[in-house]
Symmetry: C2
DNA sequence: AACTATATGTGATATATTTCACAACATGGA
DNA sequence: TCCATGTTGTGAAATATATCACATATAGTT
């Protein structure tokens, strides 16, 4: 079996953060730390940290705290699934290019293997270190390269169409930057990053305080 | 008084979505709709929609549903605060430029009034329709232009420094694209968009299904 | 004018998530 | 060796969020 208890979504989000913070600490020579120290870095409480670590079954020592290396490896064991994550990006506009260039400095274990667009000026070129193909080759490249995650950076009007093709190509996770909710069958996970929405939310909560 | 009951954060997020969907519907000539129709578009349930609208005190008619125009105006009344939202963006790299160009087609009520960087090649130029200033002019421009929201698109190492200057310049809301949590005093609202984290989360949830 | 069918609005309930509070426990020092 | 200290791990309580279930309302029909 893969996992015994379903780990809460929020916990997973924090886990990603913990992992990055811990890797950073390790590179600075920190070998051990307490829940309240990690909490200070992650900007939450020590109870939350301990509860999260409990979720993944990690334990530390009451007086020494947590072993950084061991904790990183435990968290990675949870986050890094069984199969490799290989990503396709569709829509090589400004945002698409920005994301490509951001990931050129190969993020740990996350590789954008191919980009797709319908604009002939972009097709068959290497853009920010990533080869750009025409959408007509989408299905064949996805299966050829074993791609299982997708990023959508096309305009809203085309987002659902692209999502449908991703689903048909057996992509299991989609990160959607278009400002529309996508309809996908169960078993496909979608996350949306909506910059305009975030700004509106920001404006709302910045007002009160 | 501004608001009587604190509206749940999640409700606000959905409200932003509703508003956009409704504006789109209105432009297509839809005058009235039922909660289950909005729910279908927003990808949630009719109960959720009704509960959300209850939150802002909007009511409809059992047989006609909700009046689109009236609903848009009610939601806007909640979301659009008293003062105008004027935004500064710091860090004119790939991501920063992508965001600038995205907002050039002036999103409703959200204007990026100025961009800032320390790179002399970018300073004093107009980039994607937005004037770019040197960071040394940050404080003066913020107050001169009445900017109250900030977007951080600098590398992780400088993010906290930029946030500190934003806070000092009395910016009340910060949208942070750098992969580090920011420490800010109470009263300042921070939201983080972390693309790498989102991909990791995606990878995790795409695995199970 | 009364009836019917279909939505709304919302108290009550269920679920998810966070926080509290404290017993159990290691470690360094007396 | 035993104690004092400060941390872990976690049941229980609190809070936040979503869903259920149904009484209430209203427009069209007869």
């Amino acid at each position: 079996m893969k996992k015994t208890t379903p780990i809460p979504a929020r916990t997973i989000e924090r886990m990603v953060l913990y992992k990055r913070l811990l890797i950073d600490l390790k590179s600075k020579g920190v070998h051990t730390l307490f829940s309240h120290q990690l909490a200070a870095l992650a900007h939450n409480t020590s109870t939350q940290v301990r509860r999260d670590l409990m979720e993944i079954g990690h334990s530390g020592s009451p007086r020494k705290g947590y072993d950084v290396t061991e904790l990183i490896s435990n968290i990675s064991g949870i986050l890094d699934g069984s199969k490799e994550r290989i990503i396709a990006l569709v829509g090589v506009g400004n945002l698409g290019r920005a994301i490509l260039s951001y990931f050129t400095y190969s993020h740990p274990g996350l590789t954008i293997a191919a980009a797709f667009d319908t604009d002939e000026n972009k097709v068959d070129r290497v853009i920010s270190g990533c080869r750009c193909f025409h959408m007509s080759q989408f299905e064949s490249k996805i299966s050829e390269m074993n791609i299982n995650l997708g990023i959508i950076t096309v305009p809203a009007a085309q987002a659902q169409y692209v999502a449908d093709r991703m689903v048909a190509a057996e992509i299991r996770g989609i990160l959607n930057f278009a400002p529309v909710p996508l309809k996908v069958p169960g078993g496909v996970f979608v996350d949306r990053i909506d910059i305009a929405s975030s700004l509106e939310k920001l404006a709302y909560f910045a007002d009160l305080s």
